[in-house]
Symmetry: C2
Subunit: 313 residues, 2 copies
């Protein structure tokens, strides 16, 4: 970096929330010109808030709540150095912000939030515990698949998504058996980057919209919350979206029904439960949660049949 | 477009050269704010020159010859609408300019030359004659492969290149048999776009450096000049570049030796001669041309063995 950083802010929490971010923003030096985000998805999210805050969370909060325009935000340069392989935040212009007191989740969105550079280097992830390796890689897999069953899909995003999905499905089980294998770490990290490039074109879809409630209600890690639903969602994709069917059958090398089963078996082998019951939901609660998520902006991206999704539970 | 264009410039020639460009620049209206490049690679190249000229070719010529800096160029916005599937120029910041009187070829290069938007739409290519369909698609295939045996290669560029190469090798022979098939046209055009995204990361390599002399000396169409050498180049790639070997064996589903033979058979089936003799070169002339190209900037990108390349002739 040429010189020491002006300050180091290390009080980031998982799923950054309003009260934590308020305190972190106050720690900012006015001299800060460039932010280096060294960490996982929550560090990326926090850095995006800090870079947009000018040292005061109030303006960001007002922007998140739609009370002021983007022109009120002065956004500083960000360099992203991910230490997990999942978030994709190094190539998106979004940051997720939580307000658990009000049972709400916001997306900070501005094209100036694209990092100016990202250092994507597998050795930075080599010491990740297996549990976080799994949850972050599943987040990336969800990003890839969500960009496919997405009304904003395009041929370039689809190529990233198919490549990323195949790599994660192939390499993650191997990496879990051999967590220091840098070749496998590299494959997963490249896949996470490609998944990021995919959903940076499309936004996510219904799995993510459902996951926010699961994380808020039950404290389930984001990567698990946005992926345990994937088998059911695969079974509910729009059968008339022939391109989509083609992509999914390519990824799983099987029919949609078999793809759904393969996805469930893949998750179970990673000790990820696929039943909402395992996360503390009754059938009625879960069906209501799906209906609610389907109304969300990301839920409306879904190229699939919500009733068919609900009927599986 | 909302209103009629300020002017229409339609005097573009294949392989735009100094004297033609001088005349076209003089036709520019000072009011022009945005350039819409509607055509193939030569139209894209010409538009990039026009957009950088401010109505006078002199500054562009001085810049190409290294006599003035980029800051002397005022570059206007470009929207690219390709009507061939090959150039990739809609996603690069380069334009090729020829000076046949001095046996020279220049590359106009400035990041402001990236088109602000590209409309990539297969029906715009549906009336292309078969011969141009072939030569432009082979240009795209050469872009893809050249970005692989390239010292500037990265995992993202490689993914674009492998995907594009496989698509062209699979779909181009089918399209030649069925030239109005829009599904095949779309596959080739998406592949050309992906190849463009690949080599926009890496620049091209030795096949292109060799091709410029072939086009200048013998008037061979660019897409043929930069692709008839591909079988020989495949046979000369660096066997210690294991990633590269992996990419090529994935594309051709065979060993390097077989890949070289498959590439030659692919070209012959399209009536493209692979011997330099067929283009009017003696063995000595051809070996000298390779040595010369290997010294060029793009030649130096080559991850391969130049002596092995030469020894094949």
């Amino acid at each position: 970096m040429g010189h020491d950083p002006i300050s180091i802010i290390d009080g980031v929490v998982e799923n950054p929330h309003f009260s934590n971010l308020r305190g972190l923003c106050q720690q900012l030096s006015e001299q800060t010109q460039v932010f280096v985000a060294l960490g996982g998805g929550s560090v990326m999210d926090t850095t995006k808030v800090l870079a947009a805050s000018s040292g005061d969370f109030k303006t960001v909060e007002a922007f998140l709540k739609g009370k002021v325009d983007a022109q009120n935000l002065s956004i500083k340069e960000i360099i992203a150095v991910p230490t997990t392989a999942g978030t994709g935040s190094e190539v998106t212009h979004w940051g997720t912000v939580w307000d658990p007191e009000n049972d709400a989740k916001y997306s900070l969105s501005d094209t100036r939030l694209y990092p100016s550079a990202a250092i994507v280097h597998a050795p930075f992830t080599s010491q990740l515990p297996v549990s976080i390796t799994i949850s972050t890689a599943l987040d990336a897999l969800s990003h890839a698949l969500e960009s496919l069953w997405n009304k904003n899909r395009n041929p370039i995003s689809a190529m990233f998504a198919v490549t990323a999905s195949r790599a994660i499905i192939k390499s993650l089980p191997l990496l879990v058996q051999d967590p220091t294998n840098l070749t496998l770490r590299t494959k997963i990290q490249e896949a996470a980057l490609m998944a990021g490039l995919a959903f940076s074109n499309t936004k996510t879809s219904i799995a993510h919209n459902m996951s926010y409630a699961v994380t808020l209600d039950k404290g389930v890690a984001h990567g698990i919350a946005c992926s345990f639903t994937l088998p059911a969602i695969i079974a509910a994709v729009d059968r008339n979206d022939h391109e989509l069917i083609g992509y999914i059958t390519t990824i799983f090398n099987s029919s949609i029904e078999q793809a759904s089963q393969k996805m469930a078996a893949f998750l179970k082998a990673l000790d990820v439960e696929v039943s909402p019951n395992a996360y503390g939901y009754t059938r009625d609660e879960w069906q209501a949660l799906i209906r609610d998520a389907a109304q969300g902006q990301r839920g409306q991206n879904f190229s699939g049949n919500v009733e068919q999704l609900i009927s599986q539970f």
